[in-house]
């Protein structure tokens, strides 16, 4: 086993909670190093614990790549790097530890590319599949931009600047490049030169509109510049820089020719055909100069520029893979799960099935009728003796949420919209009798509590079965307790409240339980049915929010609020992209907002739980790191909603 070989034991993996994907990438990277350079691999092995203490698995892979790329042909230096005896190893370590992950930047990058290009483009991270000395480059299609996960401190000490430049360059292509031109019989070298000239042309166009982007591109073109090199990549890097920086002096004839040809056309930047002509001339010159071109080894010199597969279609051969198969159906994935749960679900009576759409952020498309929500009768407390004993519930009193009403009038007020006739008469009498009159002679409307409907949506997924440390209870138990506390408090304050739960088993089966409905009081039976919930399956939050929204639309209260309580990021066994269900849940919450509802989220998560902030927005999100404080947090959230 590779893991054992490299000292990355299962315990270590567990301990550092590396996600499955990153773990796999790390395993592949160590395997690759083992093949390539056993000495360095054993040096790494010795330092693995120390490195994992400082870096998460994905950052560690990037650190390894940095070493392999820094010293591709110098085994001794590479050995020092992996033995942590090289200064650059420590520098890279610090940089990687500091670097924000690509995944965390994607939401803002998606907005940025939409703002720059005025098109909706999904941004995704390319998985680190090929642990290779050759760096990855972004891949652009008309719907997506795939950014490399292997941007390391070698490419940019601040990865965010690199992401930003990649996004701007992609926006330039999307706005100004004709996509998918037939490559025809063009030689690979011609394609590469034409693409490089096209990159420069669209950047010029973008910089004309958005002059600030020049400063985004120039540093990367400068660092990728190989000033003395005469290889194809070096010449292209020199041309790239010459075309963007007029102050740059190059002594190469070909580079200067490229620049002067390009300059003749700067007044007609939209004339794509002319640029293609000069690029063909330049490619031809390179051919005459006997410059060698290796299509397999060549990558676009500037790390932010995409691989230009966006520009071309190739006859007969397959185009570079640009859009991955995003959604993986999994009908058999559930087979391995314990049968007892399935049996248990089978005994729960199905009430109705409804289909809801789901948002695919990568396609920018609402897939219609994608998820099936199955409403089930709440798990019947058939064996009440097996239920946990009811916990004595804390009494909570909710604050009054008031607004003006005409049905209650306050008399004898110092200010108001109408005179209080009785008070006015007394005032007149007092004054005539020479007494000092009472000036409070107005009436104004009183206040009334705004009616509110609350729907608590409990996550019943398997992970809520985890025991809360020091409490001896599961997260689900805490959820149930908090739900009951809030139900009691809200109904005694005169609000309408319901408690529903959900768990999902692929998109075909999102179980939805109406544990306590509106109009029902929390009695023995409903309390028992809440307590009877068990933790199982996964968290497809978007579908549950959509169903809750449709149930909520029947409510007539002035304020309608859905509160989702969950213990982790939305997930399901047929979805492999962490961001997918987060985006979907966000869209579901936005739709609820448009329908006049407020969606709030409470994440019982020791981690940052940034996903919840993304789903419901910062204003309506609470992150509870200590589950035992959940009831208090719920009340605090309620106050916030009531006040807004």
């Amino acid at each position: 086993m590779i893991i054992a070989d490299t000292g990355l034991t299962a315990d270590v993996i567990d301990e550092y909670r590396v996600s499955a994907e990153h773990e796999a990438a790390l395993r592949r990277a160590t395997e690759k190093l083992q093949e390539h350079d056993p000495a360095s691999a054993s040096a790494l092995h010795l330092n693995m614990q120390r490195l994992l203490d400082r870096l998460p698995a994905d950052a560690l892979v990037r650190w390894m790549l940095t070493g392999m790329r820094l010293y591709p042909n110098e085994p001794q230096k590479r050995l020092h790097y992996f033995g942590l005896q090289d200064e650059s190893a420590w520098l890279a370590l610090e940089n990687e530890a500091r670097a924000p992950s690509l995944a965390a930047s994607i939401p803002s990058l998606s907005l940025l590319i939409e703002g720059l290009s005025l098109r909706r483009i999904g941004i995704q991270a390319q998985p680190l599949d090929s642990i290779d000395v050759t760096p990855m480059r972004p891949i652009l299609s008309s719907m997506h931009l795939l950014l490399p996960s292997d941007y390391s401190s070698l490419d940019s000490p601040e990865p965010e600047l690199l992401f930003r430049a990649s996004v701007a360059h992609a926006a330039a292509h999307l706005m100004h490049s004709p996509a998918a031109q037939p490559a025809g019989t063009l030689k690979p070298m011609s394609l590469a030169v034409i693409s490089a000239v096209e990159d420069a042309r669209v950047e010029q166009l973008l910089m004309r509109d958005l002059p600030g982007t020049r400063a985004w591109f120039v540093p990367f073109l400068k660092t990728s510049l190989q000033p003395e090199g005469l290889s194809f990549a070096a010449l292209v890097s020199r041309m790239n820089y010459a075309l963007i920086d007029p102050a740059y002096q190059d002594d190469n004839y070909w580079v200067n020719k490229a620049r002067s040809l390009f300059d003749t056309l700067t007044t007609s930047l939209h004339d794509h055909a002319s640029f293609r002509e000069i690029a063909s001339v330049l490619a031809n010159d390179l051919g005459q100069m006997r410059v060698r071109f290796h299509p397999q080894q060549y990558v676009v010199p500037a790390p932010y520029r995409d691989d230009n597969s966006f520009l071309w279609t190739y006859p007969d051969t397959t185009t570079p893979q640009s859009i991955q198969e995003l959604q993986v159906e999994s009908s058999s994935a559930g087979a391995s799960r314990s049968d007892s749960i399935d049996e248990q679900v089978a005994t729960e009576q199905e009430i109705r099935r409804l289909r809801y759409p789901e948002w695919d952020y990568r396609l920018g498309l609402l897939r219609s009728d994608w998820c099936t929500v199955i409403e089930r009768r709440s798990p019947s407390p058939s064996a009440p003796h097996r239920l946990p004993a009811p916990i004595p519930l804390a009494r909570v009193k909710l604050p009054v949420t008031a607004s003006l009403t005409r049905n209650a009038r306050l008399r004898r007020q110092p200010e108001g919209e109408e005179l209080d006739l009785d008070a006015a008469i007394e005032h007149a009498i007092d004054r005539r009798r020479g007494h000092s009159p009472e000036h409070r002679v107005f009436t104004r409307p009183g206040t009334r509590q705004r009616s509110m409907s609350l729907l608590l949506l409990l996550d019943l997924s398997a992970s809520t079965g985890d025991i809360v440390p020091d409490a001896g209870r599961s997260i689900l138990d805490v959820e149930k307790e908090a739900a009951q506390v809030l139900v009691q408090a809200a109904s005694s304050a005169g609000h309408r409240i319901a408690a529903h739960g959900f768990s999902s088993d692929t998109r075909e089966c999102v179980n939805y339980y109406r544990l306590l409905d509106f109009d029902r009081t929390l009695d023995e039976v409903s309390s028992a049915s809440i307590r009877a919930c068990t933790a199982r399956y996964s968290t497809r939050m978007g579908a549950a929010i959509r169903h809750a929204t449709s149930l909520m639309s029947l409510e007539t209260s002035e304020r309608r609020v859905i509160i989702v309580i969950t213990d982790g990021t939305p997930s399901d066994i047929d979805v492999f992209d962490d961001a997918y269900l987060i985006h979907d849940a966000h869209v579901a919450a936005e739709d609820a907002r448009r329908a006049g509802m407020v969606t709030c989220g409470i994440a019982l998560d020791e981690g940052g739980a940034g996903y919840m902030r993304r789903i419901v927005g910062r204003e309506y999100c609470r992150i509870v790191s200590d589950p035992s404080t959940l009831p208090a947090q719920l009340v605090a959230l309620f106050v916030r909603i009531a006040a807004s």
């Binding site: 930047s105 939401p107 803002s108 990058l109 998606s110 907005l111 940025l112 939409e114 703002g115 720059l116 005025l118 930003r164 996004v167 701007a168 509109d209 958005l210 002059p211 600030g212 982007t213 020049r214 400063a215 985004w216 607004s403 003006l404 005409r406 919209e417 109408e418 005179l419 006015a424 005032h427 007149a428 002679v441 409307p445 002035e558 304020r559 309608r560 936005e590 006049g596 902030r613 993304r614 927005g617 910062r618 204003e619």
Partner: protein, 268 residues
């Protein structure tokens, strides 16, 4: 209280750059004294438009900013206690009705629905305002016109116009003007070069593309004028945009980062 109508007359021409035929259209509506709703996103020039029209038509303009606590009495008037008894004081609406002004109810949806019902008799063929507390029916002055505005962007269940109210109005839809017109407006209002104004307008268009993708509304023309004013005063452009756009529009960190990127891209 509202006797001196001269203070409601606009003496100087408020700057307004028409984006279409709205001026001529409003003149027709005014000629027949039809009540008008001005719809449109915040900061696109609704209030400025009505000021301009009031100036052009030579009418006094009485503006009421509606809010949730506003009652019908705040519009029509109330009895107040004085030394020798009670006296009736006309509210802004009654003043406009009696004296023939344009009454402009800004952001009408902010007022509660029962308040807005008082305008109903004024907005149909009757053109009367019954003052039930006073036992008086005020017939509208021939020059009186009612204009209301609202922003359909953030409707919620509790904040929407009743059909019975909105059907009484001629509705005029306002949008942010075309790029060239908007740039000219910003350049004129903030006294900045047209090139800077055009660049700011391009920036605004890009933020408007993010509406409903994290932003409730994009950058408005009014915001652009603020930005340009600060830049003219010597504030560094990025800093000015940060204060008047990025931070003013949102609190979400992801959106803030994206907006900063968009702003940064626009300035060399």
């Amino acid at each position: 209280m509202f006797s001196d109508l001269d203070s409601y007359r606009l003496t100087d021409e408020p700057f307004y750059r028409p984006a279409g035929t709205e001026v001529a259209f409003f003149e027709h509506a005014y000629a027949h004294r039809l009540p008008v709703i001005l719809k449109g996103p915040t900061g696109c020039g609704k209030t400025r438009f009505i000021e301009h029209m009031a100036w052009k038509l030579g009418c006094p303009l009485i503006t009421v900013a509606c809010n949730e606590d506003m009652t019908a009495s705040d519009l029509v008037g109330r009895y107040l206690l004085e030394a020798h008894g009670t006296t009736w004081h006309d509210g802004p609406l009654t003043t406009a009705v009696r004296s023939g002004a344009i009454c402009y109810l800004d952001e009408i949806v902010e007022a509660r629905q029962d308040t807005t019902v008082v305008i109903h008799p004024l907005t149909d063929g009757r053109r009367i305002l019954p003052l039930d507390k006073r036992g008086e029916v005020v017939r509208a002055h021939p020059d009186f016109q009612l204009v209301v505005s609202y922003n359909p962007g953030y409707q919620s269940r509790t904040k929407d116009l009743k059909p019975s109210t909105r059907q009484r109005f001629v509705a005029m839809h306002f949008e942010y003007p075309d790029e060239a017109v908007e740039a000219a407006i910003v350049a004129k209002e903030a006294s900045v070069p047209i090139e800077l104004a055009a660049q700011l307008v391009k920036l605004a268009h890009r933020t408007r593309a993010l509406k409903d993708r994290g932003l409730e509304e994009g950058v408005s023309t009014r915001m652009l004028i603020y930005t340009a004013t600060l830049i003219r005063a010597g504030v560094e452009p990025r800093e000015s945009c940060e204060a008047t756009m990025t931070q003013a529009l949102t609190d979400e960190p992801d959106v803030i980062r994206a907006l900063r990127g968009i702003v940064d891209a626009h300035f060399a």
